[in-house]
């Protein structure tokens, strides 16, 4: 049927709006920044060892900056080998009494930590956004509530481990060294600390050198919760500090989240030492869209899959596989949707895309995007204005890409999506698995049988159907192949912090 043509006289009924942001034109949203005056950041922090903040033996400090403004937020101490030694000794001393404490009492500490996190949620969210550059919407609605949820969940397990591992004798592993990345600083600390404590272990945790603040605020909170000294020690520093922790003979386990490269070094270092280890490493997730998918929701899933936390997510859906029949529609809708993402001040409540975490990361993203262009992929970037100061990158998608492009092989860890097409489910599975990584993946289709068929064939540790980037403390998280070893969360995550025997 021919579309009816209608011509209407133009109607001007709306009077001019007052000066400033007009909802109808240009930037529709006036600034709506979250207040920061309640967030207490000390000018300098020591190392949290044996329940108190102490200076590093060397007295060395380094700054931590706000990537959205490049302003220095605070200075933190650089832990040397002697400080690492002290922290591990404190954890060792605390281990016996902590392990002998009635399990339900250990659980109470975890519940108390969870509740304190909820009470101070606003301060933690604001500092997380200032230190790491992520939008306040995410730190407020995701990072902090999820961190609290992990403490609640594991608090519940503390006195029920016999039900988690029925018929087995359960003992804690001992002193756990834990190294966490900069993309979800507080949440990763919670992922690591909560199961360790629930199972009766003590901890030495090293946050990333660029995002130490919420871990140090967590140290204050742990002290306020009355956690016995030495049960959790938090030391700051860069790679050398991490290496000192990994190589120290006094730890029984190392838990690491970060790059595959460092993960391999750690695995070499702990080989034949008897140290247990779990590694959560990189990813290059395939996000598969079939032609019977709910299109508009799939587009939203793709957007959240790649632009969540500026793409600084190991399980980001960075390789989009679209069935040829819907590829044109999906790409057109993605490009439209990208224009509606609000980019800017991470503390603004309307911000969807915050700052890139650091200059180094920005340079890495730019280099890989250049490689994509040089190798012949077709680039589409959204048109947001970038702030003058700080580190920023526009949401970017590549079309006309192939498996052989670097942007499809290497983890970009930024707001960059590459799109490939496929013809049949078998081809989608083959392409999805054609990567050294295997952390996560997603499938969109209206057909339940296809969901089970395809996800069963994907070699990835975390799979989502008709959604993406969903997390729950009860759900184990971890990778196949070069994406890591072991699982965190759920029963599988508990198993990483206990020694089981008959």
């Amino acid at each position: 049927m021919a579309a009816k043509k209608k011509t209407r006289p133009p109607e001007k009924t709306v009077p001019a709006a007052p000066p400033g942001n007009d909802f109808r034109l240009g930037e529709p949203y006036a600034p709506a920044p979250e207040a920061t005056d309640h967030a207490r950041i000390a000018p300098a922090y020591g190392l949290f060892i044996n329940g108190a903040f102490v200076s590093a033996a060397s007295g060395k400090r380094f700054p931590t900056v706000n990537p959205a403004t490049e302003a220095t937020l605070s200075e933190v101490s650089e832990a040397g080998p002697g400080d690492v030694d002290k922290a591990i000794a404190a954890a060792r001393k605390a281990f016996g009494p902590w392990n002998r404490l009635k399990a339900s009492e250990r659980g109470k500490y975890l519940f108390r930590i969870a509740r304190l996190l909820q009470e101070r949620a606003r301060e933690f969210a604001v500092i997380e956004s200032m230190d790491g550059g992520k939008p306040i919407r995410e730190s407020r609605d995701f990072d902090v509530p999820q961190a609290a949820a992990h403490f609640f969940y594991h608090g519940g397990w503390a006195d029920k481990l016999a039900y988690a591992f029925p018929g087995r004798k359960i003992a804690p592993v001992g002193v756990a060294g834990q190294i966490i990345p900069w993309n979800f600083p507080l949440l990763m600390a919670a992922w690591k600390i909560a199961p360790a404590l629930a199972c009766g272990n003590t901890v030495v945790l090293k946050p990333a050198e660029s995002t130490p603040l919420t871990a140090l605020k967590l140290a204050e909170l742990l002290a306020d919760a009355g956690l016995p000294p030495g049960v959790v020690n938090i030391i700051t520093g860069a790679g050398d500090t991490g290496a000192a922790l990994v190589n120290h003979p006094g730890i029984d386990k190392i838990a690491f989240t970060g790059s595959t490269e460092v993960g391999k070094q750690i695995q070499r270092a702990v080989a034949a030492t008897g140290k247990r280890h779990t590694l959560e490493l990189g990813g290059k997730a395939a996000h598969i869209i079939f032609d019977d998918a709910p299109v508009d929701q799939a587009v939203e899933g793709i957007i959240n899959g790649i632009f969540f936390n500026q793409g600084h997510v190991c399980c980001a859906g960075s390789r989009l596989l679209v069935q040829e029949g819907v590829a044109e529609t999906i790409v057109a809708k993605l490009r439209r949707r990208m224009e509606n993402l609000v980019l800017g001040d991470p503390l603004d409540k309307n911000t969807d895309i915050g700052a890139i975490h650091s200059r180094a990361q920005l340079e890495r993203i730019e280099a890989l995007v250049r490689a994509g262009v040089e190798e012949g992929a077709c680039i589409h970037q959204s048109g947001q204005t970038l702030p003058a100061k700080g580190y920023w990158f526009r949401p970017t998608i590549f079309t006309e890409t192939a498996q052989s492009h670097r942007i499809n092989r290497e983890e970009i860890f930024g707001p960059v999506l590459s799109v490939m097409t496929f013809r049949t489910p078998d081809e989608a599975i083959e392409k999805a698995n054609n990567t050294p990584y295997g952390l996560s993946g997603g499938v969109w289709t209206d057909k339940g049988a296809k969901i089970f068929g395809v996800t069963g064939a994907l070699r990835a540790g975390v799979l989502w159907a008709n959604t993406f980037n969903k997390f729950d403390p009860a759900s184990p998280f971890g990778g196949y192949k070069e994406s890591g070893l072991g699982r965190e969360g759920g029963l599988h995550g508990l198993a990483a912090y206990v020694n089981l025997s008959r």
Binding site: D22, R24, R137, P294, Q297
Partner: protein
């Protein structure tokens, strides 16, 4: 009019969980200062001020028309609403009361609200309302026929109604509260636009739930796809259940981010509402003076 496939074969399915997540993101948008004022004024100018009751009288309609022209006597700078919506027998009264203004007269027709009548009298009702002076016709679809799978009959009735409208604009009410699934809402939206609807509209206001943000988003996305495919713009009218300014602003955010600024005019978007007007006025006063006024400070016609 030539008959073609009534249901476009490619109506996509809707995932309810993903839909609700998207709506939650719209609700989280924060509008402040000038941005909020301009959105509130826009919302006011998009209202179809409605009275659809058995007890409606010429007196009631004339008073409503005064409210439509000047919503807040304390602030004559505010825009008038888009239209007054009444039953066909009161169209003439509204038309006279609004002569010389730009407020349009809309009329429900086609055995509103149930649509349970033979097609011939339903078409006659449209012709009567148009002859009385209606600028816009709000028809209801036969939900019974749609739900028993006779989509062709629904397509044909909409196309016939469009013909009967002549120059008047046709808004097609899907009554989403009776269609129940988002897949049905999407299919009915596609059907209505294919058959010639100028506007698609959620509800009669007589069935609950009415214009939920989720249902409205499904329809906006259908409009976007139709526009991408055919180049023809179709208007959207959520009606029923939108009672406060905050909800209305959420709908405008949804409209802007889904269809774009071109739809941000009363020509392409309407609110079917009655109590919404005074809440918008109250919020505008708050923005201007910094204080909330009492409900009694706003006229109640």
């Amino acid at each position: 009019m030539a008959r073609t496939t009534p249901t476009p074969p490619d109506s996509p399915t809707i995932d309810a969980v993903g839909l609700a997540e998207r709506v939650a993101r719209f609700k989280a948008r924060s509008l402040k200062a000038a941005s909020k004022v301009s959105a509130l004024k826009l919302a006011l100018s998009m209202i179809d001020l409605t009275t659809l009751e058995g007890r409606d009288t010429p007196g009631k309609v004339r008073q409503l028309c005064r409210k439509a022209v000047r919503p807040d006597p304390a602030d004559p700078s505010l825009p008038h609403v888009a239209a007054v919506c009444v039953y066909p027998t009161l169209v003439r009264v509204a038309k006279d009361a609004l002569s010389g203004t730009k407020v349009r007269v809309a009329s429900v027709a086609t055995a509103f609200p149930s649509g349970q009548a033979d097609l011939a009298p339903r078409l006659d009702e449209i012709r009567y309302a148009v002859a009385e002076g209606a600028d816009e016709i709000d028809m209801v679809i036969s939900r019974g026929k749609f739900l028993c799978g006779d989509h062709a009959a629904v397509f044909d009735e909409i196309a016939a109604c469009k013909d009967a409208c002549g120059e008047a604009h046709l808004k097609v009410i899907l009554e989403t509260g009776e269609l129940h699934t988002y897949d049905n809402v999407r299919r009915a939206s596609d059907l209505a636009m294919e058959a010639g609807a100028d506007f698609i509209k959620t509800s009669t206001g007589k069935v609950s739930p009415a214009a939920t943000p989720e249902v409205t988003l499904v329809m906006l996305q259908a409009i976007q796809d139709f526009h991408a495919r055919t180049g023809r713009m179709v208007g959207m009218k959520p009606a029923g259940g939108i009672r406060d300014a905050k909800t209305a602003v959420t709908f405008l955010v949804m409209l802007r981010e889904t269809l774009g600024p071109a739809w941000l005019t009363p020509e392409w978007f309407r609110f079917g509402a009655s109590t919404l007007t005074n809440d918008i006025l109250m919020q505008l006063t708050k923005q201007r003076t910094g204080h909330y006024q009492s409900a009694r400070d706003y006229t109640n016609d």
